[in-house]
Subunit: 335 residues, 2 copies
């Protein structure tokens, strides 16, 4: 089953979307918003699935689904917690600045509490007041959970995953060192994120969803050029079950919690930093990583951060090259 | 005007509360929940204020208001961002562990993104799975904002304050060093917070609300003994307008954002650490601070963190010693 929220009010209007993303059907008679559906999942899931089946069979009124009309599936959420499960990415960033990465990072997940009071739509511009802040994208896989009890096991956590999607976790790189030095984590360095127009239940992903990981390539284009083609199922040190259980260690998580994988990142064939796509590698899922690799290789970064007018595209494809979750496509706009 | 949410469903049921906290009137015909009221404040504020006036005049149906029936006014919120505005508290903590506090802390607010997907009720037990985590309370002042535009000035931020209240920001002290060392801020160290049963519009606070600060004593009792009597209006380096503007520097804030002051803390009469109440001082608003002072004075802390059965009470009073926001009263329970 695929779900989306058409832009309307603060929380959007819930629709069921056809598998090919061409059509949608209003789900307002079942639940007005995705959050309302998640709040009451046991009661509404069956009705939503029946609606999805009817939509595929073309036996109910349907509308064309236009991704540009979609908000992020949860236009605002009660929780957005982002892990850093591709430890390779963290190791590279540390290596570039000559800092040792603690060995514990390989078995104790990194996670930060993100702002969730308002997300950008998947095709919305990224408002940027100051280019010197160093605007970057981060292409990630995310899941939305149901209620997760305090102290949940990995297995309980996996069973609580309701939907899978993608995010562009916008980051202001040049604000990060100052904030991290203060010791309280990210705040100003993490403005509003955007999510893929469509989120998908794990069962509808078939073999692409296994062991709490999405086994598909994450495609990233920057200004129309291929920038990243990393395999999301590879080099993910912590699967989503482990990330959710980490988040639930000292408190329960409410339905509608979004958990992120952190920037998807693959090692190079030699186990070291990966190569750009132009050099035959799988590229990168954020600018910071290519700058890190440039620093390691050449002593200084050369790829600039995003400026007004730059466009990033983030998506994943089925075997016929059709987007699974729709496409995040955002252009930076001076604000 | 005073507002509360009676326990019901995930978001509570909005009521208007009389100034003396004795009575309440259902506000469901105006807005079903506090979040719904904040989402549509321009439209509903007048109706809510009329209802509050009618309640004071006893011209409408009313019910006894029992604080034990109240949830936190926002039982879950889209954002909870906690500052550390009483820099004296931060300076003491650093001093106790022999770490220099950067001078910038006096003009650049510290703030962390807190979990907001589910809060404890003001009389709910604090679930604690492991006493070795070092369970502490933090008594703070908080505000709830309306929509705040990206890049808001302090004045715009002050004008966006809708309600004022108190919180117990529960902290697991012994999990903090490990999390801060990882560099991503608090996560497991900050389980669910609880808020005062009643929140109050700034105008209803009269002279007690000035310059974006609450000018009342914050009273804290631990196991029935006076523990803290700090003046919330004193030693607050950053007022709420400054804290909100800090939060809105790189992104807008949505209606229903809760901003916290951080632990209220007063300097001693000599400018150094304050004295316990038993020694004639104003005491402390969290256990960590008294442990810090004990460490500075005696080389080691002696006051233990909270254990199952320990009870903390947090409130503020009017001139007749009646609680303004009701009382947070929580007992630690093994979970």
């Amino acid at each position: 089953m695929k779900l989306a929220s058409l832009k309307a009010g603060r929380d959007g209007r819930l629709v069921v979307v056809s598998a090919d993303l061409a059509w949608c059907a209003d789900a307002g008679h079942i639940a007005p918003t995705l959050q309302a559906a998640l709040d009451d999942w046991q009661r509404v899931e069956g009705d939503l699935r029946n609606l999805a089946t009817d939509l595929e069979h073309e036996v109910i009124p349907r509308d064309r689904f236009h991704e540009r009309d979609a908000a992020s599936p949860l236009p605002r959420a009660y929780q957005w917690a982002d892990g850093s499960a591709y430890v390779n990415h963290v190791a590279l960033v540390r290596q570039a600045r000559g800092a040792e990465m603690p060995e514990s990072f390989w078995h104790d997940p990194l996670m930060y509490q993100g702002g969730s009071d308002g997300f950008l739509g998947p095709r919305d511009p990224i408002p940027l007041a100051d280019e010197s802040w160093g605007c970057d994208f981060e292409a990630e896989v995310v899941v939305i959970t149901g209620d997760v009890p305090l102290g949940a096991t990995r297995e309980q956590a996996l069973a609580a995953i309701r939907l899978v999607g993608l995010t562009n976790d916008v980051s202001l790189r040049n604000l990060i060192p100052g904030e991290l030095a203060k010791g309280f984590g990210f705040f100003q360095a993490k403005p509003a994120s955007a999510f893929s127009p469509v989120f998908v239940t794990p069962d509808a992903l078939g073999d692409w969803w296994q062991d709490g990981k999405l086994h598909r390539k994450l495609l990233v284009d920057l200004n129309g050029e291929p920038f990243g083609r990393a395999e999301a199922g590879e080099d993910m040190t912590f699967d989503f079950g482990t990330l959710i259980a980490h988040a639930a260690k000292t408190r329960s998580l409410s339905a509608g919690t979004i958990i992120g994988s952190g920037t998807v990142s693959n090692r190079g064939g030699d186990g070291g930093p990966g190569q750009p796509i132009a050099s035959g590698g799988v590229g990168y899922s954020c600018i910071a990583e290519v700058r890190t690799v440039e620093t390691i290789r050449n002593g200084a970064p050369t790829t600039p951060f995003m400026k007004a007018g730059d466009t990033v595209r983030i998506w994943a494809e089925d075997d016929r090259h059709h987007p699974i979750f729709g496409v995040i496509e955002q252009t930076v706009a001076a604000s």
